[in-house]
């Protein structure tokens, strides 16, 4: 268990329409850690991420964050279609904040300063010269990287990734995994990554949290995930039909 958790969950429960999705989840995530949340489809991974982000309120339990400068990268990028890439990435600096505990005005920038900042963030995710394009003019992988750039514009301390490699080819997935690792190293953020992808766990995760039936079935270091005797972890790691997890979606 980390000493100074950046994210602290205690007995968190959440149900939808009377169906429990999360039951008594307790979990700590340390500063600068990359935690992978895995599990079969419909097991509550994304719900857990939404509860951490504050998009959904838990029915019971406590969610505490070490820093409220938190952002989320969505499964299908969630870029604003009607805005250019520049406006998307600079959005958090162009718009005065309404929500959150720190509602202080963001610093004023000139258009040129903003363009330079956006340029820097896009370079961090390997993109350039696309500021005046619209999201629908980019490939899925590029849109995903733009959503990374938008997320890191405010130098967040916590980044939540909802299936960042979903729908991408293996090479594009590797690129995205590398950027998660790079962002963590460069801005020193804590990362929680919801994924189905075993390669993502192998390449970037420090710890793995396996959810099933609304509960944490296994939580431990990533290198032990592939060797543990835990029947849930073994079944998931070997993509086996034999085991305690029945497909629930």
């Amino acid at each position: 268990m980390p000493d100074t958790p950046m994210i602290h969950l205690e007995n968190v429960s959440k149900a939808f329409g009377g169906r429990p999705v999360l039951e008594d989840i307790s979990l700590d995530v340390a500063s600068q850690e990359i935690l992978a949340i895995i599990g079969p489809s419909g097991c509550g991974k994304s719900t857990l991420l939404r509860v951490i982000s504050g998009l959904d309120k838990p029915d019971a339990g406590v969610v505490e964050l070490g820093d409220d400068n938190l952002t989320m990268v969505f499964q299908y990028s969630a870029l604003f279609d009607s805005l250019t890439i520049f406006e998307n990435v600079a959005f958090s600096l162009l718009e005065k904040p309404d929500l959150g505990t720190s509602q202080k005005a963001r610093p004023k920038y000139t258009e040129q300063q903003l363009r330079e900042l956006v340029h820097q963030k896009l370079l961090m995710v390997g993109l350039d010269d696309i500021q005046d394009l619209y999201p629908n003019q980019l490939s899925g992988g590029m849109q995903k990287r733009v959503s990374f750039a938008r997320a890191i514009m405010s130098d967040p301390r916590i980044i939540l990734y909802d299936e960042p490699t979903a729908g991408l080819d293996p090479i594009a997935s590797t690129v995205i995994e590398d950027y998660i690792q790079t962002l963590r190293n460069e801005i020193g953020c804590t990362s929680v990554v919801v994924t189905h992808n075993l390669t993502t766990i192998r390449r970037i995760a420090h710890r793995v949290c396996l959810l099933f039936g609304g509960k944490i079935q296994w939580l431990g270091p990533a290198q032990e995930f592939f060797t543990t005797d835990n029947p849930y972890a073994r079944q998931f790691a070997h993509a086996s039909l034999e085991g305690p997890m029945t497909h629930i979606e």
Binding site: R50, S53, L55, L70, T71, M72, F74, Q75, Y76, A78, L79, F80, D81, F91, S92, E95, K96, P97, D98, L99, G100, Q103, R150, A151
Partner: protein, 268 residues
Amino acid sequence: MSNTQLFPITRYLLSQVSHGTTDFLYRLGLATQNTLQTAYFILKGRLSKNLFAQQAAFIGVDALGISLILTLFSGMVIALQVAQELTKQGAGNFVGALVAIAILRELAPIMTGFSVIAMVGSAYSAELATMQIQKQIDALRMLRVDPVRYLVVPRLCAAVAMLPLMTILTAMAGIVGGMVVSYVVADLNYNNYMESVWRQVETRDILGAMFKASVFGALIVTFSTTIGLNTKGGAKEVGESTTRAVVWSFIAMAIADYVLSFLLFQEN
């Protein structure tokens, strides 16, 4: 025979009424919540001038043309129905007044409202519903921007400001349409027609029409955006939300029209 087998049609109708009432109250609650949040942001002065200007241009460009056509023909139809008859009865001097009052008090705000529902309300609902299912609304929240402040406030303010202006323009089109038809079918002189308009139309008719249009604008945007923002599901639900927004906007406008007509134009 068990109770559940008795009066199946009555039971079905009652369940439909019950479901419809619950749905109406639920949406009314959401719309009220949205309105209160919108009022809060307006009172705090959190209206983006750029977004307001964009939305005002969108409403004007998209809906003005069709509302001009609708009101022009409405004025022509009224004149067609009454000009000959009134002239025969020796009341030709009242044709202009009758057309103008009908247009100003009722048809111009209503036709403008219809056009805005069809061209703008449906577009708002579809746009916000798509943003909701594509998680763009969640993305706004994660960027600490309130979706009501960013998406609803400028649209509502633009509608409240633009609909009265559009109504005045469409009323002018309707009155002119009536004038042309009166001349064609009843040989009514343009000067007599316009003199009749100026004699009978009062300031309160013009202000009442503008006020009605503002209220219609607020209702249309409130229902369209509330329904759009509360969409769940996929492409099918986007379509359903758009239809629902149009239907609820029509109903809300019809109720408001009766109440406002009673309050604004009823003689003591």
